[in-house]
Point group: C2
């Protein structure tokens, strides 16, 4: 009998050329797919992620599904995969899902985190985990700016060129901007995201935090619908895919 299995996967994006398979590059999708093909002896097996992540982006909970005829128990699958995957990829969970489930198309929402190391000096331990900005950032201004992003908007001004989405409207349910010591953590939850959208939001919030723009600039920027008016794209290594929501019955 064919089964459909959803994995929850954590990875450190530092040594990967992103999620998606590319020839001659190390990617997370390739590492997982190669291992499953070998473990389950199914050379045609394909793994599907909830979406792509760029080179350097981390994941705490990427959704990944694949179909298999193998009867391996779920816990054995997780333990076996973690024993054989490189230590910068870990399978946190596996569950059976309906046969028509797809990690990409069934995603109902995603949560991302963007981390900024805001200190006079860089950090050795955070160098691949957070964007280093040495000028003090104004948290109140960043928070005020973030309020304009809540709700449903045309996010064209935050959309990378080459984004293949059918339309630029997206819903943001929640944004938090908090400081914990020298680390500024921005979390964004929404229905879905355009290409580079979170990194472009982070880049724009930093412009406000630096005092180069007023918080209201974010509102005006949204209204331009023009990416060329926006701030620089924040670097990939500060970004984490935290969680993907699926409409599934309790496990």
């Amino acid at each position: 009998m064919q089964r459909n299995i959803l994995l929850t996967v954590e990875y450190d994006g530092t040594d990967f050329s992103g999620w998606q398979i590319q020839s001659d590059q190390r990617t997370v999708q390739q590492d997982i797919q190669d291992l499953l093909r070998e473990m389950l002896q199914e050379p045609e097996l394909k793994v599907q992620g909830s979406g792509r992540t760029d080179a350097g982006v981390h994941a705490l909970g990427m959704g990944v599904n694949f179909k298999t005829g193998h009867s391996i128990p779920l816990n054995g699958l997780v333990l076996g995969m973690n024993a054989q995957l490189a230590p910068d990829v870990v399978v946190l969970d596996a569950r059976e899902v309906p046969y028509d489930f797809c990690a990409r198309f069934w995603a109902r929402g995603k949560r991302y985190r963007y981390c900024i190391w805001n200190h006079e000096r860089p950090s050795a331990l955070q160098r691949t985990r957070a964007w280093y900005i040495h000028q003090p950032l104004d948290m109140e201004a960043m928070y005020a700016a973030s309020r304009y992003l809540l709700g449903r908007h045309d996010f064209s001004a935050f959309r990378a060129s080459g984004c293949s989405a059918k339309h630029p409207y997206r819903d943001i349910y929640e944004i938090t901007v908090q400081r914990e010591g020298s680390m500024i953590v921005c979390e964004v939850a929404g229905s879905a995201f355009l290409r580079h959208m979170v990194r472009n939001l982070a880049g724009a919030l930093v412009e406000v935090g630096l005092g180069k723009q007023e918080p209201e600039w974010i509102r005006d920027l949204l209204a331009t619908k023009d990416r060329r008016q926006g701030a620089r794209t924040a670097p990939s290594h500060g970004l984490y895919l935290v969680h993907v929501n699926y409409d599934l019955p309790p496990a």
Copy 2:
């Protein structure tokens, strides 16, 4: 005029064979000394750390001093060093200290942190930052056990063979054991530490957390003064040198 300069240094120990210079190994002391010799054009310059750290151990605030005849301003020194050091070593601060100051012998106290990732599954992002233990640890028992370590004791039972200290008495001022989600953080502050002492303390606290020993076992273990009675040494990659105290006038 000769100056004596104290650096505060952060490093990610993952890719180092520890602090101390060893031929044909990458060490933090070597990286810093090589750079300073070149930057300041003083081929005999020597750097002194507050102590050694083992391969894989991290530092948030290693104390390092060196003497130089160069007049480079302190902030220029820090910026120049950080521009040229590999990104897994960062100079956080530089200050002038009395000419007879020595980072090793003037240390009046140290603070270490030991991190444990306590979750059913390992973590990709914490793999070089915390000891992974999948069985749930009993925090109350670990806390109770830690109380026996406070104060002045003969720590022979927690001392590595090959330790060169003159006597095994050490003072522990403070120990905290706290859980933040899946991360257990143990901090220990004391006058000084024997070789592998913090890793041996962490190993023993974990035995108690696993329920293999009662909290009182720590008291009895101290009394044996016998390392062979102790627990395994916790792995190096969970350990952080957080801070070194010096009796110095305010900067």
